[in-house]
């Protein structure tokens, strides 16, 4: 009889994902507050002001941090959804690959918009 010598499933990466999702959530919540303050400050938003807001160094970095957090957070979340509802392996893998491609595209697009 073959007895398993080591546990081959459960590398505990679930805990890392769980923690990452929470840390990225806090980052995005803080960015949301900053953006709301910027919007609510009462300045009339014309093109110049809008452009200037996103040309600030700190705003670019904060927005990039937000985009990366969103991608990481959404990866954990969408992966959970796919694992819960999509049972056939091929389809599941395909959807996960599509998710990764979409999220990388979002981050790339954000970089392009911020540093034009």
């Amino acid at each position: 009889m073959v007895t398993p010598r080591r546990i081959v499933v459960g590398a505990h990466y679930g805990l890392g994902s769980w923690l990452a999702q929470r840390i990225t959530a806090v980052i995005m919540a803080l960015y949301t507050l900053v953006l709301l303050v910027a919007f609510m400050s009462g300045r009339p938003m014309d093109y110049g002001g809008w452009r200037q807001l996103f040309q600030n160094g700190w705003m670019r970095v904060a927005t990039l941090l937000f985009a990366v957090s969103l991608a990481w957070h959404a990866w954990v979340g969408v992966r959970d959804i796919v694992m819960d509802y999509i049972k056939p392996d091929g389809l599941r893998l395909g959807l996960q690959v599509v998710t990764i491609v979409v999220l990388f595209s979002y981050v790339g697009w954000t970089v392009q918009v911020l540093w034009r």
Binding site: R22, A25, V26, A29, T32, D46, Y47, W50, R51, F54, L70, A74, G77, V78, I81, T99, V102, Y106, W109, T110, Q112, V113, R116
Partner: protein, 134 residues
């Protein structure tokens, strides 16, 4: 062991009508599934849509004007309101989950109250911003 109970015919699956009308999800269950639905909606299409709007509005003065006019269309405002609800609900429910992770409000009664608060606050935020943009 009671064999009678074990032999009693059990439903093999649930009718759609049972799922929709007979099983009532508790309020925290609603918050949970809406958190998932809103998260999926934010992933797609809303992030792509907003990135497109940010891109166009920052690219040029004409682009900014185009986005400005586009955002005046009633159908676009409706879409924006759905986005605001999804964002507000996902944020409020997320804060609640973070507090639950820290063992705050895990008893049944406070958990139900906070779930109700999430629904109410996110709808109130949606109503406020809907009023602001309309």
């Amino acid at each position: 062991m009671s064999t009678a109970a074990a032999k009693r015919a059990r439903p093999k699956y649930l009718h759609l009508s049972a799922i929709l009308f007979e099983i009532r999800l508790p309020v925290p269950g609603f918050v949970s599934i809406l958190h998932r639905v809103s998260g999926a909606l934010l992933f797609f299409p809303f992030v792509a849509w907003l990135l497109y709007l940010l891109d166009t509005s920052l690219a040029s003065e004409q682009g900014f004007a185009r986005v400005h006019d586009y955002l005046r269309l009633p159908i676009v405002k409706l879409g924006l309101i759905v986005f605001i609800w999804a964002y507000a609900h996902h944020l409020c429910a997320g804060v609640r989950f973070l507090l639950l992770d820290l063992n705050k409000g895990v008893e049944l009664a406070p958990a139900r109250r906070s779930a109700g608060a999430v629904l109410v606050v996110s709808l109130a935020l949606t109503a406020y911003f809907a009023w602001r943009i309309w």
